[in-house]
């Protein structure tokens, strides 16, 4: 499920960045970049997990830590978009909603940073590992 979701999200982002058609509603012929990025991402992932002796746990764990570190960026931009009155009109975030969003973003960023820093300090042997 994760491979399907992440590959589709990667392909969607590639299409969005390039300004190309990016939807499963479109046939492959009219959305070549979308389908090519989707299949390429899946093939790269499959290739990596088939490497003999690859540290899969470390790959999975660090990929998730990196995703958590990058998540606040998305959350901040979503909050900025949701607060934009010109864009959202009457549906724009109120002050109380923005404060709740800021608290959530701070909490998520703090958790991600704590996990990333703790892993780094253990890897650098600055603190004893668990």
């Amino acid at each position: 499920v994760a491979i399907l979701t992440i590959c589709a999200a990667t392909a969607y982002s590639a299409g969005e960045c390039a300004g190309a058609t990016h939807s499963f509603n479109n046939p492959p012929r009219s959305a070549m970049l979308f389908y090519a990025a989707n299949i390429t991402a899946a093939l790269i992932a499959a290739g990596i997990i088939l490497i003999p002796g690859a540290p899969l746990l470390s790959i999975a764990l660090n990929a998730n830590v990196l995703a958590t570190v990058l998540l606040p960026v998305t959350l901040v931009f979503v909050t900025l978009l949701a607060s934009d009155r010109q864009l959202m009109g009457s549906r724009a975030n109120t002050v109380s909603l923005n404060m709740a969003a800021a608290a959530i973003v701070t909490f998520v960023a703090g958790c991600g940073a704590a996990y990333g820093i703790d892993s780094f300090l253990q890897a650098a042997h600055l603190i004893p590992g668990g």
């Binding site: 046939p27 470390s58 830590v65 960026v73 901040v76 900025l80 010109q86 940073a113 780094f120 253990q122």
Partner: protein, 78 residues
């Protein structure tokens, strides 16, 4: 299945989709929705505090990403 019609970016959005409480995605056809999302919007005017926060976020993300990448490669070696 019929191929969805394509609409130019200048396609007007129906009034019922614009009124407060109207859900654009419900009233618009897929092609109209795509055309609506392709409309360019002006660059957001952010205050000094928001710009400072975004720069702090950039620095934080770069430093933490470097830490995670270092951790990954050090775990590969051990």
């Amino acid at each position: 299945m019929a191929r969805p019609a394509t609409y130019p970016a200048s396609t007007p959005i129906p009034r019922r989709a614009q009124r407060p409480g109207g859900e654009p995605a419900v009233f618009l056809e897929p092609g109209q929705l795509t055309a609506a999302t392709r409309r360019p919007i002006p660059r957001a005017q952010l205050g000094k505090r928001a710009m400072s926060a975004l720069w702090a976020l950039r620095v934080l993300v770069i430093i933490l990403s470097a830490m995670v990448i270092y951790t990954f490669f050090s775990q590969l070696g051990s």
